[in-house]
Amino acid sequence: MKFVDEFRDAAVIGKAVEEIRRLADPARHYRFMEVCGGHTHAIYRFGLKDLLPANIELVHGPGCPVCVLPMGRIDDGLAMATQEDVVFAAFGDMMRVPGTHGSPLEHKARGADVRIVYSPADALRLAENNPGRHVMFFAIGFETTAPSTALTLIRAKAKGIRNFSVFCNHVTIIPGIRAILDSPDMRIDAFLGPGHVSTVIGCRPYEWIARTERKPIVVSGFEPLDMLQSVLMLLRQLRNGEAKVENQYKRVVPWEGNRAALKAIAEVFELRNYFEWRGMGFISQSALRVRDSYAEWDAERRFSVPGIRVTDPKAAQCGEVLKGVLKPVQCKLFGNECTPERPVGALMVSSEGSCAAYYNYEHRKTLTNIAAPA
């Protein structure tokens, strides 16, 4: 059963699908990249691939912050966590992500003080309530979460809370897209733009994709109908020979973004010269670091950070999958050496990673069909 069957707007969805079939040129193969991991998850969950004509391929992009975090950064964070009096605070998503010597959860089992928080503001309150300890918040995420970390640091400074720091691993979405477009084996025709990142950055930062790269991009919502409408908008642009930024998700995403959130980011963070993305290598100006004016709250300055570099396993082909050159199942390790239970590569780590999503919905479905033919 397709999950789409559960939808009250099945008739509207049917219409959108019909229109997509009408607009798609049968002589052409389309490759659309959805940048955001939330979209990847929704595409598999709702079985959208089964609704689209076979010549429209959805390629899964780099927009899963847990997936693109290199293992060395996890090792660095955990190295700080083992220092005396340090409390390692992170979102629940981080807890099972493997470092070289185990995940944060495994470090907790070995005695490190590892805590789940659901908000950076709660990590700060943890510090406030425990003046004898140092709380280090492992910050991760794209522009959706960076403003919350920034505002938390602004509050820490205003209140003079000095037993708190942030290990900043925030990345920015635009350089990730640029790296994909710059890659010589890139074969993407158009983009589905991220929904929630765009509530912060707005739609303007995508304009170069349309203007310079001549690729259409549509910022999209997460409902099946949203994504189908976005695919339709991309097809219309391609048919008309256009390349522009469109906003399908107007009901949530303002064209100009969230100014207060951007201001908080600019107050606290500046661009790093370069940062490593797992599976993609070093990308220039693709991540944030804490500004000098907040140095006291920067874990990388307060602690001696080992600066561990762990090379991605050679056999894993995460980079090719990220760029859309390979499908998850075409990677040599997929499903045997690399599974959601024992991830080797980045994209198997989080449920929003394309390999994990593919494995959980497509691969398991196939296995079930083999086990019990209908």
């Binding site: 939808f7 969950r45 009096d85 629940g92 709660d122 959706t144 403003p147 919350s148 949530v252 908080a264």
Partner: protein, 92 residues
């Protein structure tokens, strides 16, 4: 972390608001909505304990439905219940 959870504002506090979020009352940060502060009765989208944008009631109800359909309803509840829950720290 990547969830966007709709919440209804029930009380305004300095820099914060008490919201009704998937059936629980929690206090969240409103400092990122300085340009367009929410009022009691407004709906907001919440990320990691911070209100990120104001949305209509219809959109909020749609978002709640989509979370359920995505199989994220339980994660959203766990996350919402976690806001403001400061984990206990044992003395070293």
């Amino acid at each position: 972390m990547c969830l966007a959870i709709p919440a209804k504002v029930v009380e305004l506090l300095p820099d914060r608001a008490v919201v009704d979020v998937v059936g629980v009352r929690r206090s969240i940060e409103t400092g990122l909505l300085l340009d367009d502060p929410p009022r009691v009765g407004d709906w907001v989208l919440v990320h990691v304990g911070f209100a990120m944008s104001k949305i209509s009631e219809a959109e909020a109800l749609d978002q709640i439905r989509i979370l359920t359909l995505l199989g994220e309803g339980d994660s959203a509840r766990v996350e919402a219940e976690g806001y403001g829950a400061i984990p206990e720290v044992e003395s070293p």
